[in-house]
Symmetry: C2
Subunit: 704 residues, 2 copies
């Protein structure tokens, strides 16, 4: 990992384009560093004034008493290029170029300027953050190399959270949410155009800081997955959870991203798979970046095995309605409710008002109003129950007449003694503040509390599975591909060890009948076999369920005619036995421009495009990874034993995916894309899975 720590603890900083006005972009870094305890040398550069915000100013970077370790560039256009070139020549280690109008615009001049800055930096090994960046802020050292308005609105405080973002706003917004909630923020970095240093590379440096315990990350594109992999390695080794928001999940969002930072946002399912394999939680909306932060900081997302199982959520409230609604929310998030032991229920019965239910959820009833000790009696019982691995405490109504401090202390003691994650749902901000001051994770409502618990639990599971996965392959799509016909495609899969239907390529109707006879008279399918026509069934090139020689001959002749009419003179005829009575699934693979090899598995058949039910895996992955992906499909319940039928042979399907994944990352592989659909998946141990149709593309213009 490259050393970027000089951006965090620079010995000296020059601000090029420094302003005496602290509201100007060139004035903000000066104001922040002079007021937030930065101890290094600070050099305002501005040829037109002797003093800037009380500091002596300099006419140029050349005239400083020393070569600054880092420079902040706040001058526009060509002046910025000149400043960067001077810094590089002098031996400055890093520049933060805040100015805009470069690579993010369609203006060729701006793009050229960005290229020139990059070239200058690369000549001497200087690093550039930006251009078009709000800049970096390190509150541990007071080195604020940026201009975010938010540090004026909400005073910084050093703490356990780091925010790293391509976007300035998506740096400022999480910073603001965290600070308003009283959480300390150590880094608030925005990287802009990522021309040199990427958000991920900087995030890796940030996460290496032992004072950081949670990383909040916003990305608009992932041009260099390897940088994210390095970041994830550091985070995993330090046990730092990473919550990432990658904008551009939708087509509309991707269009917007393209005109924002010029980002080519990545395919959503691929990004999902990428983050999951690295143990990174993918947020969907900006609010999700910080929603569970209190639980994270309590260590609730420590890697946990999904096999922990058999435990569940306990719900306690002084409102029956909140018990009901929290249980509903748990179901929404696939969280099981804990089943209390008989012993626990007896103890709850003794503690609770007569007639209160002793099962989970526990409604201590409005009696809390007259007996504030109720939580103190009930919670230790729940904490001691072996079936409880998380707890929601809902207190929708408290205030005058309630001993809020005692209740908060009881909940706090429960959280500490039991060690299980506890989320407190409190609608009244003043009541919530008492609980927050007691060190508890407080949420506005039961829905948010349950969602956060579900997130840290699931995050702990993916984090547990992440270590030991290899790096992604560097294979990328080639310049050209060659399409194999169906017979060759099936043969290519067979060569990889995938079971394929016994298809025979026949030149004419006679050969087709011979193939039919050789199959022993079972019902067959007759298809046109040519790489030149893709959607064969639309043209009548697929004839199913043929049971006698005459039908086969007629179908073969038809198919040859149709191909000829569609300009395919040398099309062959494929004869294969019908495979029936199996589940139709699919497995595929392709090369993503950013992430390289991608394997897809899911429900198969003709509906796969219209109603997709697929999961993506990035190789290398294990059979266990593939099995987990299968288990998360919407169709998964169909794979189990149903109505007396045996479970589907998922292992056979998983094996296909593993073999494809292995091939896609094999050095020298020429497979560019595979679409095996349908794969007929049989029921019963060892019953197998067989690809009955396939389309394979290979790199380059020649045969495999």
């Amino acid at each position: 990992m490259t050393d970027l720590s000089f951006f965090h603890t620079p010995g000296s900083v020059a601000v090029i384009g420094a302003s005496d006005n602290p509201d100007k972009i060139g004035g903000r870094p000066i104001e922040y560093m002079t007021t937030l305890g930065y101890r290094g040398a600070l050099y305002p550069v501005n040829p037109s004034r002797p003093m800037i915000q009380g500091l002596p100013a300099f006419g140029s970077v050349d005239s400083l008493p020393e070569v600054p370790e880092v420079a902040v560039v706040a001058v526009p256009g060509q002046a910025a290029v000149d400043a960067v070139e001077t810094c590089a020549r002098l031996g400055v280690r890093g520049c933060v170029v805040m100015s805009s109008g470069f690579g993010e615009t369609p203006d060729p001049d701006g793009r050229r300027c960005q290229e020139e800055m990059l070239r200058a930096a690369r000549r001497t090994g200087m690093r550039i953050v930006g251009p078009n960046t709000q800049g970096l802020a390190s509150f541990g050292s007071g080195a604020v190399l940026g201009f975010s308005t938010m540090f004026t609105e909400l005073p910084p405080a050093d703490g356990p959270v780091a925010v790293v973002s391509q976007s300035g706003a998506m740096c400022s917004v999480p910073y603001g949410v965290l600070r308003r909630r009283g959480v300390g923020v150590r880094y608030a970095h925005a990287t802009g155009n990522d021309a040199d240093v990427s958000a991920a590379e900087l995030a890796a440096a940030v996460v290496a800081d032992p004072a950081v315990r949670l990383l909040v990350l916003y990305l608009e594109d992932i041009r260099h997955p390897a940088a994210v992999e390095e970041l994830a390695d550091v985070a995993t080794s330090r046990g730092v959870p990473v919550v990432a928001l990658a904008g551009g999940r939708s087509a509309g969002g991707r269009r917007a991203a393209a005109s924002h930072t010029g980002a080519l946002a990545n395919e959503t399912r691929v990004v999902d798979a990428f983050f999951e394999r690295l143990g990174i939680w993918r947020a969907r909306h900006s609010a999700d970046l910080t929603a569970a932060v209190d639980l994270y900081l309590q260590g609730a997302a420590q890697p946990r095995s999904p096999a922990a199982g058999e435990q569940g959520l306990a719900i306690v409230s002084n409102s029956g309605a909140i018990c009901v609604l929290a249980a509903d929310a748990a179901a929404d998030h696939d969280l099981d409710l804990a089943t209390f032991t008989t012993h626990s229920r007896e103890r709850l019965g003794a503690a609770l008002p007569a007639f209160a239910a002793t099962a989970n959820p526990v409604d201590v009833t409005a009696a809390l109003m007259t007996d504030s000790s109720l939580f103190g009696k009930v919670l230790p019982v729940i904490g001691a129950d072996p079936g409880v691995d998380a707890c929601v405490v809902g207190i929708p109504v408290a205030g005058r007449g309630y001993d809020v401090a005692t209740i908060a202390a009881d909940v706090r003691a429960f959280a500490q003694d039991s060690g299980v994650p506890v989320a407190v749902a409190i609608a009244q901000p003043d009541v919530g503040a008492v609980f927050r001051d007691a060190g508890l994770a407080v949420f506005d409502d039961e829905g948010a509390a349950v969602a956060a618990l579900a997130q840290v639990r699931r995050h702990g599971e993916i984090a547990a599975a992440a270590p030991g996965r290899g790096r992604l392959s560097t294979r990328r799509p080639g310049a050209s591909v060659h399409t194999l016909d169906e017979a060759d495609s099936l043969a290519a899969l067979a060569a990889l060890g995938l079971a394929t239907v016994a298809a025979t390529r026949c030149a004419d109707a006679d050969a087709a009948v011979a193939a039919f006879d050789a199959l022993g008279g079972v019902p067959v399918v007759v298809k046109g076999c040519t790489a030149a026509i893709t959607h064969k069934s639309d043209l009548g090139l697929v004839r199913l369920g043929l049971t006698d020689a005459e039908e086969v001959a007629r179908a073969a002749r038809d198919v040859v005619d149709i191909m000829a009419r569609n300009g395919v003179a040398e099309g062959a005829v494929l004869v294969a036995p019908m495979v029936r009575g199996a589940l139709e699934v699919m497995v595929g693979a392709h090369l993503d421009p950013s992430f390289g090899p991608v394997v897809v598995l899911g429900a198969g058949g003709t509906g796969v495009e219209a109603v997709p039910d697929v999961r993506v895996l990035l190789p290398p992955f294990t059979a266990a990874d593939a099995r987990a992906a299968v288990a998360s499909l919407r169709m998964a319940p169909l794979l189990g034993p149903v109505r007396g039928d045996a479970a589907a042979d998922v292992d056979a399907w998983v094996d296909m995916a593993v073999r494809l994944g292995r091939e896609m990352v094999r050095p020298g592989s020429r497979i560019a894309s595979v679409d095996a659909n349908p794969v007929m998946l049989h029921r019963g141990v060892g019953a197998g899975a067989v690809a009955v149709d396939a389309l394979v593309l290979v790199d380059g213009g020649a045969e495999l």
Copy 2:
């Protein structure tokens, strides 16, 4: 509709069990009414004190100077029963029984006491709210017949919103959220056990008040759908949107509800369908009850035709990232983005900084910091674009250096001039307050803003479709049902005008062969036909694709043998032609204990239980309603024209659902349940749909 207005504007109120301590349950109503402007006569009843909170107290209800119009009962157990009986005898119009320990407990004494109160009330026509209720609060009149802590925590203010809830907490929580946001609340009613007056009945009275413009409703069960229908009628005629949360969507939530108010929470899909047909929005979590309230109060949920179409959401922000994320959120909610006209784009190009994109979303860029007039230039163009029907304005960062007041005024002018719903996403509370004070709908983040716009839009659509739907049938499940065998089931469907496969019931193998011959030799299915065995394929009673007489005879003999071995001596054999090459769908119907007739349609085949993709309709409904339900299925994209094949004949399927719905509400119908699965749905106009398997249950113990 019964008159319940005396609960809202009582001329006189007695509080039985009045307390001098305003923190006691019997003290709160006195304190609230004396401080919140109640102008009627207020009579504390307490035999042990001459004065209560400065008012003369009375020893019993009998000794008051007049018969009070309403009494609040705060004494427990048998004393409450006595008080209610006295009130009824005296001619009190309504009692609010706050005391607990009655029908909500498993205690037979408590249940008996509740029954006695009810009997006493019914003898004289007195109405009871509760028992076990937090009580009612009418801030228009100051009549607070309840003890909610929240009115102490947050001072009431009369306003356009009414909250009605079975649960006390779920009355107090929305009240608190609304008041903290500065929204006035006219009614905050909790009804408790709903022994007499139900939450829905009270809500109908509330919605009839011309001052109410939004109803927030929490229900734990819907024992009397007719009361909700009446409420919806009033709300629809007055144009008042209703947002309802029905707890117990999950199995865990239903268990919790049963031990809370003794509620038997209803089947989720049925409740969804019930609310939708009435134009009521179903919230999922407590926060959803109030999330979109500002947009509602601006009239954004006025009934709108889904055919309005061809319009979409505009997104404007000073942050490119918020543009990206709002577009992603719009896709999550199936909201289209507006496409601006060329004219608009030219005008935007003139208004925006050079190189800023002029397409939707519009990123005015960080230039807003130096030019606060940017929104004022851009928004009128967007407001004039005919393709825009809603707008998100995202301002993630503002504050010092920004002219926030000008920006807020510009957004306000845009909202007023354009008339489209505008949701402003602002992360900084102090900045948000400026916009809220300007009368705008403000949200914490882009995700919440887009979700609220999507909600009011969809709510407007279901509200537009609601009027004119008839009342639900009062048919309910009978005491016993009789199961028809497959042949009789198919015949019963055919009698209703549903197309069914041409199945022949055969006594033996010879008859089966004759039936096969009569079908002209097409492939057939041979099945065991008996009502005594349900899962026939598990036992080998279904033989598919038989193509010659010998196969048919052998299958028929097998089937008869298997039935005999399973104790069915008189089972017949069913012979029917195979129906292939169609989509497998299903249609069904049954009688719900609370809602009566229910029609179900969805994806068919063996996966329907494991991976359900179904929608519920409550008759009476129209073909348009059924078509809308089909269009919302996950499988819907498969029904369109795919790969050259024609669209499926959805009309034929819809017609089956309509016929079933009509039968289920027909007076005298004996159909208790129908499960037609699969229905083979063919592609092509008029291609039809045919039920190939069916199970029909009829009321009573005899044949149909």
